[in-house]
Amino acid sequence: MAMGPQRTPDTGQQGPGDDPLPEQMEDLPGPVLYYNELVLDHFTRPRNVGELPPAETDGFGVVGDPTCGDQLKLWISVRGGRIARIRFKSFGCPGAIATSSMLTELAQGRSLDEARRITDDDVIEALGGIPERKRHCSLLGVRGLHAALSDWEARRASEGTRTDR
Protein backbone atom coordinates (compact mmCIF):
# COMPACT_ATOMS: atom_id res chain seq x y z
CA MET A 1 0.00 0.00 0.00
CA ALA A 2 1.36 3.40 -0.92
CA MET A 3 2.11 5.47 2.14
CA GLY A 4 2.26 9.21 2.48
CA PRO A 5 5.61 10.96 2.44
CA GLN A 6 7.76 10.40 5.50
CA ARG A 7 7.30 13.16 8.03
CA THR A 8 10.40 14.45 9.68
CA PRO A 9 10.14 14.23 13.47
CA ASP A 10 7.73 16.85 14.77
CA THR A 11 9.10 20.17 13.66
CA GLY A 12 6.52 22.12 15.55
CA GLN A 13 3.11 23.38 14.68
CA GLN A 14 1.54 23.11 11.31
CA GLY A 15 0.49 26.52 10.14
CA PRO A 16 -2.89 27.04 8.54
CA GLY A 17 -1.24 27.49 5.13
CA ASP A 18 0.49 24.10 5.20
CA ASP A 19 -1.10 21.44 3.07
CA PRO A 20 -2.29 18.81 5.48
CA LEU A 21 -2.80 16.19 2.76
CA PRO A 22 -0.14 13.61 2.03
CA GLU A 23 1.15 13.80 -1.54
CA GLN A 24 0.01 10.30 -2.36
CA MET A 25 -3.32 9.21 -0.99
CA GLU A 26 -3.51 5.85 0.64
CA ASP A 27 -6.23 3.43 -0.33
CA LEU A 28 -7.90 4.03 2.99
CA PRO A 29 -10.44 1.61 4.35
CA GLY A 30 -14.01 2.84 4.15
CA PRO A 31 -16.42 3.77 1.45
CA VAL A 32 -14.27 6.23 -0.52
CA LEU A 33 -11.87 5.12 -3.20
CA TYR A 34 -8.53 6.57 -4.14
CA TYR A 35 -6.68 5.55 -7.27
CA ASN A 36 -2.90 5.55 -7.63
CA GLU A 37 -1.07 7.75 -10.17
CA LEU A 38 -0.65 5.01 -12.77
CA VAL A 39 -4.35 4.09 -12.63
CA LEU A 40 -5.26 7.75 -13.01
CA ASP A 41 -2.85 8.03 -15.95
CA HIS A 42 -4.53 5.11 -17.73
CA PHE A 43 -7.91 6.62 -16.88
CA THR A 44 -7.14 10.08 -18.26
CA ARG A 45 -5.00 8.84 -21.19
CA PRO A 46 -6.33 5.37 -21.94
CA ARG A 47 -4.19 3.37 -24.41
CA ASN A 48 -5.62 1.66 -27.48
CA VAL A 49 -9.01 3.37 -27.32
CA GLY A 50 -11.24 3.10 -30.36
CA GLU A 51 -12.66 0.51 -32.70
CA LEU A 52 -11.19 -1.60 -35.49
CA PRO A 53 -13.02 -1.39 -38.80
CA PRO A 54 -14.89 -4.62 -39.68
CA ALA A 55 -12.39 -5.50 -42.39
CA GLU A 56 -9.54 -5.51 -39.87
CA THR A 57 -11.44 -7.19 -37.05
CA ASP A 58 -10.61 -10.84 -36.46
CA GLY A 59 -12.27 -11.05 -33.08
CA PHE A 60 -14.78 -8.92 -31.22
CA GLY A 61 -16.10 -9.20 -27.68
CA VAL A 62 -18.71 -7.30 -25.70
CA VAL A 63 -19.19 -7.94 -22.02
CA GLY A 64 -21.42 -6.41 -19.37
CA ASP A 65 -25.16 -6.44 -18.87
CA PRO A 66 -26.96 -4.87 -21.85
CA THR A 67 -29.10 -2.59 -19.65
CA CYS A 68 -27.11 -1.73 -16.53
CA GLY A 69 -23.64 -1.55 -15.09
CA ASP A 70 -20.27 -1.30 -16.80
CA GLN A 71 -19.78 -2.35 -20.39
CA LEU A 72 -16.71 -3.14 -22.49
CA LYS A 73 -16.26 -3.69 -26.20
CA LEU A 74 -12.97 -5.08 -27.46
CA TRP A 75 -11.60 -5.62 -30.97
CA ILE A 76 -8.54 -7.65 -31.99
CA SER A 77 -6.75 -8.30 -35.24
CA VAL A 78 -4.55 -11.36 -35.45
CA ARG A 79 -1.39 -11.80 -37.53
CA GLY A 80 0.87 -14.86 -37.38
CA GLY A 81 -0.90 -16.20 -34.32
CA ARG A 82 -0.36 -13.01 -32.36
CA ILE A 83 -2.55 -10.09 -31.39
CA ALA A 84 -1.43 -7.48 -33.90
CA ARG A 85 -3.84 -4.74 -32.95
CA ILE A 86 -6.23 -4.33 -30.07
CA ARG A 87 -8.78 -1.60 -29.42
CA PHE A 88 -11.39 -1.05 -26.73
CA LYS A 89 -14.25 1.17 -25.71
CA SER A 90 -15.71 1.19 -22.24
CA PHE A 91 -18.57 2.63 -20.27
CA GLY A 92 -17.56 2.48 -16.65
CA CYS A 93 -15.75 3.88 -13.67
CA PRO A 94 -12.09 4.98 -13.68
CA GLY A 95 -11.13 1.48 -12.50
CA ALA A 96 -12.92 -0.10 -15.45
CA ILE A 97 -11.32 2.26 -17.98
CA ALA A 98 -7.82 2.00 -16.51
CA THR A 99 -7.84 -1.80 -16.21
CA SER A 100 -9.16 -2.17 -19.76
CA SER A 101 -6.42 0.15 -21.00
CA MET A 102 -3.71 -1.78 -19.15
CA LEU A 103 -5.11 -5.08 -20.37
CA THR A 104 -4.74 -3.96 -23.98
CA GLU A 105 -1.13 -3.03 -23.32
CA LEU A 106 -0.45 -6.45 -21.81
CA ALA A 107 -2.21 -8.28 -24.67
CA GLN A 108 -0.74 -6.35 -27.59
CA GLY A 109 1.78 -8.47 -29.50
CA ARG A 110 1.14 -11.59 -27.42
CA SER A 111 0.48 -15.01 -28.87
CA LEU A 112 -3.13 -16.09 -28.52
CA ASP A 113 -2.18 -18.63 -25.85
CA GLU A 114 -0.28 -16.03 -23.89
CA ALA A 115 -3.16 -13.59 -24.20
CA ARG A 116 -5.58 -16.18 -22.83
CA ARG A 117 -3.43 -16.65 -19.78
CA ILE A 118 -3.53 -12.97 -18.75
CA THR A 119 -5.43 -12.76 -15.47
CA ASP A 120 -7.11 -9.92 -13.62
CA ASP A 121 -4.30 -10.16 -11.07
CA ASP A 122 -1.76 -9.51 -13.85
CA VAL A 123 -3.66 -6.36 -14.84
CA ILE A 124 -3.92 -5.13 -11.26
CA GLU A 125 -0.24 -5.84 -10.61
CA ALA A 126 0.78 -3.97 -13.75
CA LEU A 127 -1.21 -0.99 -12.49
CA GLY A 128 0.43 -1.10 -9.08
CA GLY A 129 -2.83 -2.07 -7.41
CA ILE A 130 -6.38 -0.76 -7.44
CA PRO A 131 -8.81 -0.20 -4.58
CA GLU A 132 -10.09 -3.46 -3.15
CA ARG A 133 -13.70 -2.72 -4.07
CA LYS A 134 -12.72 -2.12 -7.69
CA ARG A 135 -11.05 -5.49 -8.25
CA HIS A 136 -14.11 -6.75 -10.10
CA CYS A 137 -13.58 -4.03 -12.75
CA SER A 138 -10.41 -5.71 -13.96
CA LEU A 139 -12.38 -8.87 -14.67
CA LEU A 140 -14.38 -7.03 -17.30
CA GLY A 141 -11.28 -6.51 -19.45
CA VAL A 142 -10.11 -10.10 -19.09
CA ARG A 143 -13.57 -11.38 -19.93
CA GLY A 144 -13.74 -9.02 -22.91
CA LEU A 145 -10.45 -10.33 -24.23
CA HIS A 146 -11.59 -13.94 -23.79
CA ALA A 147 -14.80 -13.12 -25.65
CA ALA A 148 -12.80 -11.62 -28.53
CA LEU A 149 -10.45 -14.62 -28.62
CA SER A 150 -13.39 -17.02 -28.64
CA ASP A 151 -14.94 -14.98 -31.43
CA TRP A 152 -11.72 -15.30 -33.40
CA GLU A 153 -11.74 -19.07 -32.91
CA ALA A 154 -15.39 -19.30 -33.93
CA ARG A 155 -14.76 -17.23 -37.06
CA ARG A 156 -11.79 -19.38 -37.97
CA ALA A 157 -13.75 -22.58 -37.48
CA SER A 158 -16.56 -21.31 -39.69
CA GLU A 159 -14.14 -20.20 -42.36
CA GLY A 160 -12.58 -23.67 -42.48
CA THR A 161 -8.82 -23.82 -42.36
CA ARG A 162 -7.61 -20.50 -43.66
CA THR A 163 -4.02 -20.43 -42.53
CA ASP A 164 -2.92 -17.09 -43.83
CA ARG A 165 -3.45 -15.46 -40.42
Binding site: P31, V32, L33, Y35, L40, F43, T44, P46, V49, V62, T67, C68, G69, D70, Q71, L72, K73, F88, K89, S90, F91, G92, C93, P94, A96, I97, P131, R133, H136
Partner: protein, 381 residues
Protein backbone atom coordinates in the same frame (compact mmCIF):
# COMPACT_ATOMS: atom_id res chain seq x y z
CA UNK B 1 -9.98 24.17 -5.71
CA UNK B 2 -13.60 24.75 -6.61
CA UNK B 3 -15.81 23.05 -4.07
CA UNK B 4 -19.25 22.09 -5.37
CA UNK B 5 -20.16 19.43 -2.84
CA UNK B 6 -21.86 21.47 -0.14
CA UNK B 7 -24.53 18.81 0.35
CA UNK B 8 -21.75 16.53 1.62
CA UNK B 9 -20.26 19.10 3.95
CA UNK B 10 -19.37 22.80 4.08
CA UNK B 11 -16.31 24.76 5.18
CA UNK B 12 -16.43 26.06 8.73
CA UNK B 13 -17.24 29.77 8.67
CA UNK B 14 -14.36 31.67 10.35
CA UNK B 15 -16.91 33.54 12.48
CA UNK B 16 -18.20 30.19 13.73
CA UNK B 17 -14.69 29.10 14.62
CA UNK B 18 -14.19 32.37 16.53
CA UNK B 19 -17.40 31.77 18.46
CA UNK B 20 -16.30 28.24 19.34
CA UNK B 21 -12.70 28.88 20.40
CA UNK B 22 -13.39 30.31 23.88
CA UNK B 23 -15.13 27.06 24.79
CA UNK B 24 -12.16 25.00 23.67
CA UNK B 25 -9.56 27.29 25.26
CA UNK B 26 -10.73 29.07 28.39
CA UNK B 27 -14.30 28.09 29.24
CA UNK B 28 -13.73 24.35 29.17
CA UNK B 29 -15.76 23.60 32.30
CA UNK B 30 -18.41 20.91 32.51
CA UNK B 31 -21.88 22.45 32.03
CA UNK B 32 -23.18 20.17 34.79
CA UNK B 33 -20.69 21.37 37.43
CA UNK B 34 -22.11 23.39 40.32
CA UNK B 35 -19.47 26.15 40.45
CA UNK B 36 -19.48 29.32 38.40
CA UNK B 37 -16.77 28.03 36.03
CA UNK B 38 -19.13 25.24 34.98
CA UNK B 39 -22.02 27.66 34.76
CA UNK B 40 -20.15 29.57 32.09
CA UNK B 41 -20.34 26.50 29.87
CA UNK B 42 -23.96 25.83 30.88
CA UNK B 43 -24.86 29.41 29.96
CA UNK B 44 -23.22 28.99 26.57
CA UNK B 45 -25.20 25.80 25.86
CA UNK B 46 -28.49 27.40 26.91
CA UNK B 47 -27.77 30.58 24.97
CA UNK B 48 -27.09 28.40 21.94
CA UNK B 49 -30.36 26.56 22.49
CA UNK B 50 -32.27 29.85 22.54
CA UNK B 51 -30.57 31.04 19.37
CA UNK B 52 -31.37 27.79 17.57
CA UNK B 53 -34.96 28.00 18.81
CA UNK B 54 -35.23 31.54 17.50
CA UNK B 55 -34.02 30.47 14.04
CA UNK B 56 -36.40 27.50 14.00
CA UNK B 57 -39.33 29.46 15.37
CA UNK B 58 -39.87 27.31 18.46
CA UNK B 59 -39.29 27.33 22.22
CA UNK B 60 -35.84 26.67 23.64
CA UNK B 61 -37.04 23.57 25.46
CA UNK B 62 -38.10 22.11 22.12
CA UNK B 63 -34.46 21.88 20.93
CA UNK B 64 -32.28 18.84 21.71
CA UNK B 65 -28.62 18.75 20.76
CA UNK B 66 -27.26 15.53 19.28
CA UNK B 67 -23.96 14.22 17.98
CA UNK B 68 -24.97 14.48 14.29
CA UNK B 69 -27.84 14.73 11.86
CA UNK B 70 -27.76 10.94 11.71
CA UNK B 71 -28.22 10.74 15.46
CA UNK B 72 -31.09 13.22 15.33
CA UNK B 73 -32.80 10.98 12.74
CA UNK B 74 -32.17 7.89 14.86
CA UNK B 75 -33.50 9.58 17.99
CA UNK B 76 -36.64 10.73 16.19
CA UNK B 77 -37.45 7.34 14.68
CA UNK B 78 -36.39 4.95 17.40
CA UNK B 79 -37.32 7.33 20.21
CA UNK B 80 -40.88 7.81 19.01
CA UNK B 81 -41.37 4.12 18.25
CA UNK B 82 -40.22 3.15 21.73
CA UNK B 83 -42.38 5.77 23.40
CA UNK B 84 -45.41 4.74 21.33
CA UNK B 85 -44.87 0.99 21.41
CA UNK B 86 -48.23 0.37 23.04
CA UNK B 87 -50.06 2.32 20.36
CA UNK B 88 -48.61 0.69 17.24
CA UNK B 89 -45.47 -0.25 15.36
CA UNK B 90 -46.10 1.01 11.84
CA UNK B 91 -43.95 3.67 10.15
CA UNK B 92 -44.43 5.30 6.77
CA UNK B 93 -41.38 6.84 5.14
CA UNK B 94 -40.26 7.60 1.60
CA UNK B 95 -38.13 5.54 -0.78
CA UNK B 96 -35.68 8.42 -1.22
CA UNK B 97 -34.65 9.09 2.38
CA UNK B 98 -31.03 9.41 3.43
CA UNK B 99 -29.48 6.18 4.77
CA UNK B 100 -29.69 7.74 8.24
CA UNK B 101 -33.45 7.18 7.99
CA UNK B 102 -33.62 4.24 5.57
CA UNK B 103 -31.14 2.02 7.41
CA UNK B 104 -32.72 2.95 10.72
CA UNK B 105 -36.08 1.87 9.31
CA UNK B 106 -34.51 -1.40 8.18
CA UNK B 107 -33.21 -1.94 11.71
CA UNK B 108 -36.65 -1.18 13.14
CA UNK B 109 -38.14 -3.64 10.70
CA UNK B 110 -35.76 -6.31 11.95
CA UNK B 111 -37.04 -5.49 15.45
CA UNK B 112 -40.61 -6.24 14.41
CA UNK B 113 -41.86 -2.85 13.22
CA UNK B 114 -43.73 -2.59 9.96
CA UNK B 115 -42.41 -0.03 7.47
CA UNK B 116 -44.03 1.22 4.29
CA UNK B 117 -41.98 3.13 1.75
CA UNK B 118 -43.85 5.76 -0.28
CA UNK B 119 -42.63 5.80 -3.87
CA UNK B 120 -41.87 9.04 -5.69
CA UNK B 121 -42.87 10.11 -9.16
CA UNK B 122 -40.50 10.92 -12.00
CA UNK B 123 -40.21 14.39 -10.54
CA UNK B 124 -38.85 12.96 -7.27
CA UNK B 125 -41.83 14.05 -5.17
CA UNK B 126 -43.87 11.75 -2.91
CA UNK B 127 -47.50 11.39 -3.82
CA UNK B 128 -49.84 12.63 -1.06
CA UNK B 129 -52.66 10.26 -1.94
CA UNK B 130 -50.30 7.29 -1.71
CA UNK B 131 -49.12 8.45 1.72
CA UNK B 132 -52.71 8.81 2.84
CA UNK B 133 -53.52 5.28 1.72
CA UNK B 134 -50.61 3.90 3.72
CA UNK B 135 -51.56 5.50 7.05
CA UNK B 136 -53.43 3.00 9.22
CA UNK B 137 -54.73 2.75 12.78
CA UNK B 138 -51.38 1.40 14.02
CA UNK B 139 -49.28 4.03 12.19
CA UNK B 140 -47.32 6.04 14.74
CA UNK B 141 -44.85 7.94 12.61
CA UNK B 142 -44.50 9.44 9.16
CA UNK B 143 -40.92 10.41 8.26
CA UNK B 144 -40.26 12.37 5.06
CA UNK B 145 -37.24 14.51 4.29
CA UNK B 146 -37.60 18.21 3.51
CA UNK B 147 -35.19 18.28 0.57
CA UNK B 148 -33.48 15.27 -0.92
CA UNK B 149 -29.70 15.38 -0.54
CA UNK B 150 -29.01 14.03 -4.04
CA UNK B 151 -31.50 15.93 -6.18
CA UNK B 152 -32.47 18.85 -3.93
CA UNK B 153 -36.15 18.09 -4.64
CA UNK B 154 -38.44 19.52 -1.96
CA UNK B 155 -41.24 17.45 -0.48
CA UNK B 156 -44.74 18.80 0.30
CA UNK B 157 -44.15 18.94 4.05
CA UNK B 158 -46.91 21.40 4.92
CA UNK B 159 -49.49 19.15 3.26
CA UNK B 160 -47.98 16.03 4.85
CA UNK B 161 -48.12 17.74 8.26
CA UNK B 162 -51.82 18.52 7.85
CA UNK B 163 -52.47 14.95 6.74
CA UNK B 164 -50.49 13.44 9.62
CA UNK B 165 -52.18 15.66 12.17
CA UNK B 166 -55.66 14.75 10.88
CA UNK B 167 -54.81 11.07 11.31
CA UNK B 168 -53.14 11.37 14.71
CA UNK B 169 -49.78 10.37 13.26
CA UNK B 170 -46.53 12.09 14.28
CA UNK B 171 -44.42 13.64 11.51
CA UNK B 172 -40.62 13.64 11.46
CA UNK B 173 -38.80 15.74 8.87
CA UNK B 174 -35.12 15.35 8.05
CA UNK B 175 -34.29 18.98 7.25
CA UNK B 176 -30.53 18.46 7.14
CA UNK B 177 -30.45 19.75 3.54
CA UNK B 178 -32.72 22.76 4.02
CA UNK B 179 -31.75 24.19 7.43
CA UNK B 180 -30.19 27.58 6.78
CA UNK B 181 -30.73 27.25 3.02
CA UNK B 182 -34.31 28.43 2.72
CA UNK B 183 -36.00 31.50 4.13
CA UNK B 184 -38.69 30.72 6.67
CA UNK B 185 -38.69 28.96 10.01
CA UNK B 186 -38.55 25.17 10.14
CA UNK B 187 -40.97 24.82 13.06
CA UNK B 188 -43.60 26.53 10.89
CA UNK B 189 -43.64 23.45 8.63
CA UNK B 190 -45.94 21.86 11.18
CA UNK B 191 -43.81 18.77 11.84
CA UNK B 192 -43.46 17.23 15.31
CA UNK B 193 -39.78 16.44 14.94
CA UNK B 194 -37.16 18.08 12.69
CA UNK B 195 -33.51 17.01 12.27
CA UNK B 196 -30.63 19.25 11.33
CA UNK B 197 -26.85 19.04 11.19
CA UNK B 198 -24.25 21.79 11.79
CA UNK B 199 -21.66 20.76 9.21
CA UNK B 200 -24.08 21.21 6.31
CA UNK B 201 -24.47 24.90 7.15
CA UNK B 202 -20.86 26.03 7.70
CA UNK B 203 -20.75 24.74 11.27
CA UNK B 204 -18.58 22.03 12.81
CA UNK B 205 -18.89 18.30 12.14
CA UNK B 206 -20.26 15.99 14.79
CA UNK B 207 -23.11 18.09 16.13
CA UNK B 208 -26.76 18.19 15.20
CA UNK B 209 -30.10 19.09 16.68
CA UNK B 210 -33.58 17.67 16.88
CA UNK B 211 -36.58 19.92 17.23
CA UNK B 212 -39.18 18.10 19.32
CA UNK B 213 -42.56 19.80 19.50
CA UNK B 214 -43.70 20.12 23.09
CA UNK B 215 -45.70 17.06 24.16
CA UNK B 216 -44.23 14.73 21.53
CA UNK B 217 -43.64 11.29 23.07
CA UNK B 218 -39.94 10.42 22.90
CA UNK B 219 -37.71 7.89 24.65
CA UNK B 220 -33.94 8.33 24.86
CA UNK B 221 -31.53 6.13 22.92
CA UNK B 222 -28.49 7.10 24.95
CA UNK B 223 -29.00 6.80 28.68
CA UNK B 224 -26.82 8.12 31.46
CA UNK B 225 -26.95 11.54 33.10
CA UNK B 226 -29.76 14.03 32.94
CA UNK B 227 -28.31 15.94 29.98
CA UNK B 228 -30.75 17.24 27.36
CA UNK B 229 -33.70 16.64 29.67
CA UNK B 230 -32.74 13.00 30.00
CA UNK B 231 -33.27 12.44 26.28
CA UNK B 232 -29.64 12.39 25.21
CA UNK B 233 -27.16 11.62 27.95
CA UNK B 234 -23.52 12.66 27.71
CA UNK B 235 -21.57 15.76 28.63
CA UNK B 236 -22.47 18.37 26.08
CA UNK B 237 -20.20 19.17 23.14
CA UNK B 238 -20.15 22.80 24.29
CA UNK B 239 -17.99 24.28 21.54
CA UNK B 240 -19.84 22.26 18.90
CA UNK B 241 -23.23 23.40 20.18
CA UNK B 242 -22.07 27.03 20.27
CA UNK B 243 -20.79 26.52 16.70
CA UNK B 244 -24.09 25.06 15.55
CA UNK B 245 -26.02 28.03 16.95
CA UNK B 246 -23.65 30.59 15.44
CA UNK B 247 -23.65 28.81 12.07
CA UNK B 248 -27.43 28.50 12.00
CA UNK B 249 -27.91 32.16 12.95
CA UNK B 250 -25.51 33.25 10.19
CA UNK B 251 -27.11 30.94 7.64
CA UNK B 252 -30.63 32.05 8.49
CA UNK B 253 -29.66 35.72 8.31
CA UNK B 254 -28.22 35.15 4.82
CA UNK B 255 -30.78 32.57 3.66
CA UNK B 256 -32.99 34.87 1.64
CA UNK B 257 -30.26 36.59 -0.38
CA UNK B 258 -28.18 33.40 -0.72
CA UNK B 259 -31.16 31.41 -1.93
CA UNK B 260 -31.68 33.92 -4.74
CA UNK B 261 -27.99 34.20 -5.59
CA UNK B 262 -27.30 30.45 -5.60
CA UNK B 263 -30.46 29.61 -7.52
CA UNK B 264 -29.39 32.08 -10.18
CA UNK B 265 -25.93 30.49 -10.46
CA UNK B 266 -27.36 26.97 -10.39
CA UNK B 267 -29.95 27.75 -13.04
CA UNK B 268 -27.36 29.35 -15.29
CA UNK B 269 -25.04 26.36 -14.91
CA UNK B 270 -27.88 23.99 -15.81
CA UNK B 271 -28.97 26.05 -18.80
CA UNK B 272 -25.44 26.29 -20.19
CA UNK B 273 -24.68 22.61 -19.58
CA UNK B 274 -27.87 21.46 -21.28
CA UNK B 275 -27.04 23.67 -24.24
CA UNK B 276 -23.42 22.49 -24.47
CA UNK B 277 -23.72 18.76 -23.78
CA UNK B 278 -26.07 16.81 -26.07
CA UNK B 279 -28.35 14.43 -24.20
CA UNK B 280 -27.65 15.94 -20.78
CA UNK B 281 -30.65 16.06 -18.42
CA UNK B 282 -31.43 17.56 -15.04
CA UNK B 283 -32.83 14.98 -12.62
CA UNK B 284 -35.77 16.38 -10.67
CA UNK B 285 -35.99 19.56 -12.73
CA UNK B 286 -39.78 19.45 -12.82
CA UNK B 287 -40.16 19.84 -9.05
CA UNK B 288 -39.39 22.70 -6.67
CA UNK B 289 -35.82 22.28 -5.45
CA UNK B 290 -33.50 23.65 -2.81
CA UNK B 291 -31.59 26.45 -4.57
CA UNK B 292 -28.03 25.11 -4.30
CA UNK B 293 -28.40 21.64 -5.79
CA UNK B 294 -28.34 20.22 -9.29
CA UNK B 295 -28.23 16.57 -10.27
CA UNK B 296 -27.35 15.92 -13.91
CA UNK B 297 -27.31 12.83 -16.09
CA UNK B 298 -24.71 12.68 -18.86
CA UNK B 299 -25.77 9.56 -20.76
CA UNK B 300 -22.90 7.45 -22.02
CA UNK B 301 -20.46 8.31 -19.26
CA UNK B 302 -20.10 6.92 -15.76
CA UNK B 303 -20.74 9.35 -12.90
CA UNK B 304 -17.74 8.30 -10.87
CA UNK B 305 -15.53 8.80 -13.92
CA UNK B 306 -16.83 12.37 -14.20
CA UNK B 307 -16.21 12.97 -10.49
CA UNK B 308 -12.63 11.65 -10.64
CA UNK B 309 -11.85 13.54 -13.87
CA UNK B 310 -13.16 16.77 -12.32
CA UNK B 311 -11.16 16.09 -9.15
CA UNK B 312 -8.02 15.95 -11.30
CA UNK B 313 -8.97 19.46 -12.47
CA UNK B 314 -9.43 20.71 -8.93
CA UNK B 315 -13.22 20.52 -8.84
CA UNK B 316 -15.01 18.63 -6.07
CA UNK B 317 -18.45 17.15 -6.71
CA UNK B 318 -20.07 13.78 -6.16
CA UNK B 319 -22.22 11.03 -7.59
CA UNK B 320 -24.80 11.33 -4.82
CA UNK B 321 -24.61 11.11 -1.08
CA UNK B 322 -21.09 10.91 0.28
CA UNK B 323 -22.03 7.70 2.03
CA UNK B 324 -22.63 5.86 -1.20
CA UNK B 325 -19.47 6.91 -3.05
CA UNK B 326 -17.70 3.79 -4.24
CA UNK B 327 -20.86 1.81 -4.07
CA UNK B 328 -21.26 -0.08 -7.34
CA UNK B 329 -25.05 0.22 -7.10
CA UNK B 330 -26.58 3.29 -8.74
CA UNK B 331 -28.37 5.80 -6.52
CA UNK B 332 -31.53 4.49 -4.83
CA UNK B 333 -32.97 7.99 -5.16
CA UNK B 334 -32.59 8.18 -8.95
CA UNK B 335 -33.81 4.60 -9.40
CA UNK B 336 -36.87 5.43 -7.26
CA UNK B 337 -37.55 8.31 -9.66
CA UNK B 338 -37.72 5.81 -12.49
CA UNK B 339 -34.40 6.59 -14.17
CA UNK B 340 -33.04 3.60 -16.01
CA UNK B 341 -29.99 2.15 -14.24
CA UNK B 342 -27.52 3.41 -16.85
CA UNK B 343 -28.83 6.98 -16.60
CA UNK B 344 -28.63 6.74 -12.81
CA UNK B 345 -25.05 5.50 -13.15
CA UNK B 346 -24.35 8.49 -15.43
CA UNK B 347 -25.50 11.10 -12.92
CA UNK B 348 -23.49 13.63 -10.97
CA UNK B 349 -24.47 16.03 -8.19
CA UNK B 350 -23.15 19.58 -7.98
CA UNK B 351 -24.08 21.49 -4.83
CA UNK B 352 -23.23 25.16 -4.50
CA UNK B 353 -22.56 27.13 -1.35
CA UNK B 354 -21.94 30.53 0.16
CA UNK B 355 -18.40 30.78 -1.19
CA UNK B 356 -19.36 29.75 -4.76
CA UNK B 357 -18.64 32.64 -7.13
CA UNK B 358 -19.82 33.55 -10.63
CA UNK B 359 -16.48 32.67 -12.19
CA UNK B 360 -16.53 29.20 -10.59
CA UNK B 361 -19.62 28.41 -12.63
CA UNK B 362 -17.88 29.28 -15.90
CA UNK B 363 -14.85 27.16 -14.92
CA UNK B 364 -17.01 24.19 -14.02
CA UNK B 365 -19.05 24.48 -17.20
CA UNK B 366 -15.90 24.45 -19.31
CA UNK B 367 -14.39 21.50 -17.39
CA UNK B 368 -17.57 19.43 -17.55
CA UNK B 369 -17.99 19.94 -21.28
CA UNK B 370 -14.42 18.76 -21.82
CA UNK B 371 -14.57 15.82 -19.41
CA UNK B 372 -17.87 14.49 -20.74
CA UNK B 373 -16.56 14.85 -24.29
CA UNK B 374 -13.39 12.91 -23.47
CA UNK B 375 -15.25 10.16 -21.64
CA UNK B 376 -17.78 9.85 -24.43
CA UNK B 377 -14.91 9.32 -26.88
CA UNK B 378 -13.96 6.27 -24.79
CA UNK B 379 -17.53 5.11 -24.19
CA UNK B 380 -18.88 1.91 -25.69
CA UNK B 381 -22.50 3.07 -25.40
Amino acid sequence: MIYLDHNATTPLDPRVLEAMLPYLREAWGNPSSPYRFGQQARAAVERARSRVAECLGCRADEVLFTGSGTEADNLALRGVLRARRARGRHVVTSAIEHPAVLRTCAALEADGCRIDYVPVGRDGVVDLATVEGMLGPDTVLLSVMHANNETGVLQPITELAALARSRGVLLHVDAVQTAGKLPGRLADLGADLVSLSAHKLHGPKGVGALYVRKGTPLDPLITGGEHERGLRAGTENVAGIVGLAEALALACAAAESEAIRQAELRDRLERDLLAAIPGARVNGAAAPRVPNTTNLAFPGVDGESVVVALDLRGICCSTGSACSTGDPEPSHVLLAMGLDPRDAQSSVRLSLGRETRDEDIATVLHALVEVVGQLRAVSSL
